[in-house]
Amino acid sequence: MFYREVGEFKTSYRSDQQTFPIALDRTGFLVTLAFAFVIIPLTMSEYWAQAVFLPFLIFGIAAIGLNILTGYCGQVSLGSGGFMAVGAYSCYKLMTGFPDMNIVVCILLSGGVTAFVGLLFGLPSLRIKGFYLAVATLAAQFFLVWMFNKVGWFYNYSASGQITAPEREIFGFIVTGAKAETLPVYYVCLVMLFSLAILARNLTRGAFGRKWMAIRDMDIAAEIIGVNPLMAKLTAFAVSSFYVGISGALLFALYLGAVEVGEAFSIQKSFLILFMIIIGGLGSIFGSLVGAAFMIGMPVLLKNLLVTNLGWPGDIAAHLEFMIVGLLIVVFLMLEPHGLAMLWRIIKEKLRIWPFAH
């Protein structure tokens, strides 16, 4: 009934290779876009924007970034929190150092700075693999957080060691600082996520992505067929860090406004992003977004259900939240180790042949 290729005739390579080859999928994608660009901004309340949508958009970018590295290139990284901090602090330095610079340029440049730092920390990946690489990136996480705490230059020697985003506007709308309005901030984050997701999709199905996947599946075989592991791994680190850095810059400048590195970019963030891609599905852009939505939305939904609707005390709800989210993660991974994206793929396959069994 659904998801049928029947009657769809592709007459060019272009239409055959498109991201959504099935008409229903294309419509679904356009409907989602219309929802994200028109309906949600019109209907969302301040609370939902601040508690769910903005963090989802921002962490969605980080999840795509980590998925490029871990899901597509097979390099485990626990340093995402540290790289987000690089993005945030370079954004802060650019914003305060060049007050006339457009905020979008600042954010993109912060991504660039993070890509460079990621490249440096990616160098060990040429020698070490698997768990050992995870430990090396863990060192990056701790080193970066320590550095931003220790070196006063990064936080302009402020007394508390905090960084605070000054006011900047885009097309006359204030998007950072105290007077920032939610709607323009939402649109900036949405456009960022949308364009970066498209970029990621096109990177991963092009030559770069194929090289990354070849390295992931078997690095020696990849080397024999002519993939340069140095280039493949380092580009994966750079592109991934670029995404994570942009996400960190957005989190600081547009969402939190003031940041303290030890708390905002601790190891918890690295795990959060890793959980997002594990639950969402490794090696899938769609999975990154679903995983981000799950990890951001679930605690808020549970809190609202238990505290606001059922009137439970906040502390019991908070403890239960840990247990329920943990349990859900375990259950999901037991039922579908390849994540929510795989679940979606299976549903699509089933729908394709429905109502018949084969």
């Binding site: 905090q162 000054p166 003031a258 601790s266 908070a318």
Partner: protein
């Protein structure tokens, strides 16, 4: 047609009528879970118990009932922002974030929304300059008063001469812990002592290396800016290296029963700063018992009553309630909003006769807030722990701190903030 009109009229009636019936809403951003729960629970209990008592005894403040809305933040800034967004629409009068990190986060947001913040004894110290931070209050004392009070106490112990002495600061490696450093550095220059800094990372359970360093460097005094589980670990570690407890002085956030009891007898003699008197020896607790505890309406499990941080939470609630009274008197309205609340806080005056009438004689020093000074008088006392009797007791009066150094630093920091954010300092 008539029915339609009637329905519309009824509907609008309901919509308009609702705000009139509104309560005085006090959001409480609490943390009863996580690494800081040990400090967060007693404070949250005290805060909401006092308001419960006012509701039960007086039917609220000026006849308007009080509603405390608790929201769990886990001492996490992102959750704190979520809580702020969730509660600000309910008609919140004042935010008491109970966390320096969340306070920093909320200062720009709440200032833009026109809701006052009271960060009592924490938060951004330079917010004491009300011309730059009209919506932020940190009376009765701030961290820089605290830093100066520690140094003053050490000066007193050494007959006014601490040249060449070594003082170590063990601090939570966050905005909170870093706050006193600037002042301590200034004071080190002024009095000629040597300052060494020992940061402890969140959550503070691992402090072996810091205390090894203290054992090696042998500072004469150690002062601490700690919170949550960090406090008990530090006091235990100090006991382990046999550091003389009477030379170990914590900030007022590092001096509660929960911090010293785990170290047992070894914690005897540990000192901490105090903003108010410890204990339950006040007539107010009779009312609390009658109207709250005996009715089973105490917040939490009710096992924190009368502890230092419980009293601190109560003190926060008392100052908020008094500010409401001032606001009600000044605006002539009973059902005030955040704007009136801000004016009430700015004109708050608390003296000993007021404390007596509240049933808290000699509970805390006098306090006067003004537009220029949102930080109060900055009077701080020192308290000491008696491990045998398991009680804290004040060992000094509430004394003034080094105003010259502090006011200079406040002016410097707040004008830097004003410049960064294009604020023209003025009284509202």
């Amino acid at each position: 047609m008539k029915l339609k009109h009637a329905i519309i009229a009824a509907f609008t009636g309901v919509c308009v009528a609702t705000p009139v019936l509104a309560d005085l809403v006090f959001p409480a951003l609490t943390y009863r879970t996580g690494a800081y729960a040990v400090s967060g629970i007693p404070q949250a209990d005290g805060y909401s118990d006092y308001f419960t008592m006012l509701n039960e005894r007086d039917g609220g403040i000026g006849g308007v009932p009080i509603k405390v809305v608790e929201c769990e933040t886990q001492y996490n800034t992102e959750k704190g922002v979520e809580c702020y967004e969730k509660t600000k629409g309910l008609g919140a009068l004042v935010y008491q974030p109970m966390s320096t990190g969340i306070t920093y986060q909320l200062i720009p947001k709440a200032s833009a929304d026109g809701i006052p913040i009271h960060s009592m004894g924490y938060g951004r110290t330079s917010a004491a300059n009300g011309k730059v931070f009209p919506y932020v209050f940190n009376y009765p004392a701030n961290y820089w008063n605290g830093a100066s009070a520690v140094v003053n106490h050490i000066l007193e112990l050494n007959n006014g001469n601490i040249k060449g002495k070594k003082i170590a600061l063990v601090y939570h490696n966050s905005g909170y812990g870093k706050e006193p450093i600037r002042t301590l550095e200034e004071l080190a220059k002024k009095h000629g002592f040597e300052l060494s800094l020992l940061p402890v990372d969140h959550p503070g359970q691992e402090q072996k290396s810091q205390w090894l360093q203290i054992r090696r460097e042998r500072p004469d005094y150690v002062t601490m800016w700690g919170w949550g589980v960090m406090n008990q670990v530090a006091i235990q570690e100090a006991a382990n290296i046999r550091f003389p407890m009477e030379n170990f002085i914590g900030i007022w956030w590092s001096g509660s029963e929960n911090d010293v009891i785990p170290a047992g007898a070894a914690a005897n003699g540990y000192k901490a700063l105090a903003l108010h008197a410890p204990g339950m020896d006040f007539p107010l607790f009779d009312d609390m018992k009658k109207h709250v505890y005996d009715k089973g309406k105490a917040a939490g499990s009710g096992d924190q009553i009368g502890t230092i941080l419980y009293n601190r939470g109560m003190f926060q609630a008392i100052l908020a309630a008094e500010a409401v009274k001032v606001a009600q008197k000044m605006s002539g309205k009973k059902d005030i909003g955040p704007a009136e609340m801000r004016v009430g806080m700015e004109n708050l005056k608390v003296d000993q006769s007021m404390f007596s009438s509240l049933g808290l004689p000699n509970f805390a020093p006098n306090l006067e807030v003004s537009c220029e000074n949102h930080g109060g008088a900055g009077l701080v006392a020192v308290q000491q722990w008696d491990a045998n009797a398991k009680t804290w007791s004040l060992v000094s009066d509430f004394k003034p701190t080094d105003k010259d150094v502090i006011n200079m630093l406040i002016a410097e920091d707040s004008s830097a903030y004003a410049k960064e954010n294009n604020i023209t300092p003025k009284c509202m």
